[in-house]
């Protein structure tokens, strides 16, 4: 345990000095996707629900955050919070239709609803359609801290990320998290114990959507720009790949996966189609040969060595 | 492996282990089945009787040890290959197909080897099924479904029948009919492995009884032995 704590402190220390060495916007993108991947992991890794349109929570929160910051003059942190709340509400609505289902039906329904949300946002006037919502201002955080530079805003984003991950950690290690895992492993048994799996699934979906919204809102303030891309299916697909690659149902896996895929995207950006092709290849390889993901395999390997 | 002078072992199970996902349910099952006999697997719920049938048939995929059928090793074979060697399986839940009518259910299994019974012949043997040939398979009564499930596998021409609790949940009259059917099949030279909880029914049809506990064989009794020492069996079954 103390060893894990040491590692966590080391990672945090590295995160604190990172913007001195790496372009802050890249780092902030990674942080946004870490939160997004955690939210996805809460559903698939801990509840066994494959949301095949998670971008609807991520991207629409971006617009909401952008809109309230622009039109109501909110500070970034309040804007992000509004976006997260909106997505949690959207998650609740999706849940009303979808949580009676599990497995493939849930995946199909969330896929279709996400497309629905995409089309609505495409046609709405407030989103700026294909051009996106531009020039989202970034006021002083809490009305005190000037964050016009990426360097200083990085620390705000880092703080929100740490808080979000801590929240995620608390949720999956709470009695509620145990029930979610039980639902994932055996839905019927949970029901026979007198719990209503649907209610727990709904709450998991709301929390997950809220976290995804937090990530999306954050991204909109980082880039000062909200775009249709963030609501589109490729983003839903990217978060699946990040989570599986890092390790489904592990705490740190999705973080590793998010960092790796963002890093890969930056390097393959100039190579056109190869970015998507390589994502497909990675996903396929993970499914065929590395189903526990990088972190999951690493954990298994360490456990096997300890057992010797 | 000892052999009985009256019947050569057609199916020899040795050190059979089996798993459902990660949990191990068979721990070295060991018994043989002689040509032409009715053999029951008896034991408490969860002892591993059904699992043994499923392992023999290959439906339980993760298994090790040896299953030799007429001298040939089956442990690495797939379900359909095992069926083609001459083993047929009737599951406890009967698995009558809801999307097929009675006649389609009956006609579904292909005739794999000489001796397979034609659909017409089966329908005349089971007049109840004849009458309801075009109704959906799952609309039959429990007893009729059981008859259909057994009749169906006779089509393949397999001479070894693995029947899982055919008497379960049926009225005494119907249980009696099933018993008569089993004895009739035996008289026709079929070899039958029966999983049973109903000791009275098992005693009425079987030549030998294999007692299963915690995934392995704890005793094998002949019909005579069981008659003389009923108390011993009842302790095994906890009745």
């Amino acid at each position: 345990m103390s060893k894990n704590l040491l590692i966590a402190l080391a990672v945090l220390a590295a995160a604190l000095v990172a913007p001195f060495f790496v372009y802050p916007v890249t780092l902030m993108t990674i942080l946004c996707f870490i939160v997004f991947a955690c939210s996805f992991n809460l559903l698939l890794g801990y509840t066994g629900l494959l949301c095949f349109g998670h971008a609807m929570f991520f991207g629409s929160a971006g617009y909401i955050t952008g809109w309230v910051v622009k039109n109501w003059g909110l500070t970034p942190e309040l804007g992000i919070l509004t976006g997260a709340l909106f997505s949690a509400g959207l998650g609740f609505l999706v849940g009303l239709v979808a949580v009676k289902k599990s497995g493939i039906s849930f995946a199909m329904i969330t896929f279709a609803i996400a497309q629905f949300v995409y089309f609505i946002l495409l046609q709405s006037s407030f989103t700026g359609g294909e051009d996106g919502m531009q020039n989202i201002p970034r006021k002083d955080v809490l009305g005190l801290i000037d964050v016009t530079s990426g360097f200083s805003y990085y620390y705000v984003v880092l703080a929100i990320t740490v808080a979000a991950v801590a929240f995620f950690y608390r949720v999956v290690h709470s009695p509620f998290g145990d029930i979610l895992k039980a639902i994932r492993d055996n839905d019927a048994r949970v029901e026979s114990l007198g719990f209503k799996p649907e209610r727990f699934k709904l709450l998991a979906l709301v929390l997950s959507a809220g976290l995804a919204g937090l990530a999306g809102g954050m991204k909109a303030t980082v880039f000062q720009f909200a775009t249709l891309t963030d609501v589109s299916f490729p983003i839903s697909s990217e978060v699946i790949i990040m989570t599986l690659l890092g390790g489904l149902g592990t705490l740190t896996g999705p973080m590793v996966g998010a960092a790796f895929i963002i890093w890969l995207n930056e390097h393959l950006a100039t190579l056109g189609e190869w970015a998507l092709i390589s994502q497909g290849v990675i996903l396929l390889l993970v499914i065929m040969f590395l189903r526990r993901g990088i972190v999951g395999e690493l954990n298994a390997w360490i456990r096997a060595r300890r057992a010797k | 492996m000892k052999t009985d002078p009256t019947g050569k072992p057609g199916l020899v199970i040795e050190d059979l282990h089996g798993w459902y996902a990660e949990s191990k349910v068979l721990h070295g099952m060991q018994f043989d089945v002689r040509e032409g006999e009715v053999l029951t697997l008896i034991g408490r719920n969860g002892a591993g009787k059904t699992s043994t049938l499923r392992a023999i048939m290959g439906i339980m995929r993760k298994r090790s040890g040896s299953i030799r059928f007429q001298g040939e090793e089956l442990i690495r074979k797939r379900i359909y290959e095992i069926a083609r060697k001459g083993l047929a399986y009737c599951p406890e839940e009967r698995a009558i197909f809801a999307s097929l009518n009675v006649k389609e259910n009956l006609a579904l299994p292909p005739v794999l080897r000489p001796g397979g019974v034609s659909t017409e012949e089966l329908l005349s043997t089971f007049p109840n099924l004849q009458r309801r040939a075009s109704s959906p398979g799952t609309k039959l009564s429990g007893g009729e479904q059981q008859m259909l499930a057994i009749a169906r596998i006779l089509r393949t021409g397999s001479r070894y029948l693995l029947l899982d609790e055919p008497s379960e949940g049926l009225a005494p009259v119907v249980v009696k009919e099933i018993g008569e059917l089993i004895l009739k099949l035996k008289a026709q030279g079929f070899t039958i492995i029966l999983v049973e909880q109903n000791l009275r029914f098992a005693r009425s049809v079987a030549d030998r009884h294999v007692v299963v506990e915690h995934g392995h064989v704890v005793d094998i009794l002949t019909a005579d032995e069981i008659r003389q020492d009923l108390a011993r069996v009842k302790t095994y079954l906890g009745v």
């Binding site: 494959l50 995946a107 089309f119 396929l284 | 379900i79 097929l100 389609e104």
Partner: protein, 293 residues
């Protein structure tokens, strides 16, 4: 409201709706057949449809194979490719959570679409219609080729339905949908049946792709765009229901067309509105019979 809609516009849109519906029906039927036996939603279906169109285009431009030849060759080539994918990728995942197989087919779609786009670019490639001319009615012009597509799709759907409901092969398929292990215990080679069924479903997608080539342009994204609607069709019809897939396919094609006439802003979302409404009233879809979905 009808006063403002000219019969030309209405008839023209209905024809487009019928054409789109034909493709929805054929593609969602293939998905339903595959899902019934394998419990896998084939996310590569759109990519395989697109491959069908590309095989036809390549055949015409490099080997001089005419449309009518491609109608036979493309489904065979792409179907064989599908069988290879089933053996190498889907079979090892068969006994795991079905979500893995779903994600694997999605990964395949990403790879196939990406490679084609890398090689041939994103712009549509033209494919000439093999039948020119058409029927001139009072209020509209009806191209022969579109009539051919609608007729072909109806015949294919009815044919596949008859095959499944009224033949021995279909009985095996229906039984294996319920209990593959029991069907296999009758001595039927179910693994081979699964490979062939997947190949058949994929071939059907490729066939639709060839039919589509002269109507829509041949482009890498022609499949993924269509599949968004097709997946909604599958959910509405009831996942795994063949009848549901076909009927819902045509109905939604027409519903989209009518929306385009009377409320153009809603044309791209009407399918999803219908889906949500159906899910709220009949959670298993309109035609679902099995509870396994």
């Amino acid at each position: 409201m009808f006063d403002f809609v000219s019969p030309q516009l209405l008839a023209g849109q209905l024809l487009i709706g019928l054409i789109n519906g034909s493709f929805y029906a054929m593609l969602s039927m293939g998905l339903a057949i595959i899902f019934g036996l394998m419990n896998v939603v084939n996310f590569a279906h759109g990519a395989q449809y697109m491959l069908g169109a590309f095989v036809a285009w390549l055949g015409l431009n490099y080997l001089g194979i005419p449309y009518w030849g491609s109608l036979i060759i493309a489904p065979i080539v792409v179907g064989a490719f599908g069988m290879l994918l089933e053996r190498v990728i889907l079979r090892p995942l068969q006994h795991l959570d079905h979500l893995y197989a779903l994600l694997a087919t999605y990964a395949l779609a990403l790879i196939i679409e990406g490679l084609i786009r890398q090689r041939y670019g994103s712009t549509g490639l033209p494919y000439d219609s093999p039948i020119t001319g058409g029927l001139r009615l009072d209020f509209m012009f009806l191209p022969w080729y579109r009539l051919w597509v609608v007729g072909f799709s109806v015949v294919t759907c009815i044919g596949a339905w008859l095959l499944i409901e009224h033949t021995k092969l279909g009985a095996y398929l229906r039984a294996a949908n319920e209990r593959p292990d029991i069907v296999e215990s009758f001595g039927i080679n179910v693994p081979r049946m699964i490979t062939l069924t997947y190949g058949f479903g994929v071939g059907l997608a490729a066939l639709s792709g060839v039919l589509a080539a002269p109507i829509y342009q041949v482009s890498p994204s022609m499949g993924s765009g269509l599949m968004i609607t097709v997946f909604a069709v599958v959910v509405i019809g009831g996942i795994g229901s063949i009848m549901g897939a076909v009927v819902t396919g045509y109905i939604l094609g027409l519903a989209e067309a009518l929306t385009k006439v009377f409320y153009p802003e809603g044309a791209s979302t009407v399918v999803f509105v219908v889906m949500i409404a159906v899910l709220l009233m009949k959670p298993n879809g309109l035609f679902s019979s099995s509870e396994k979905a």
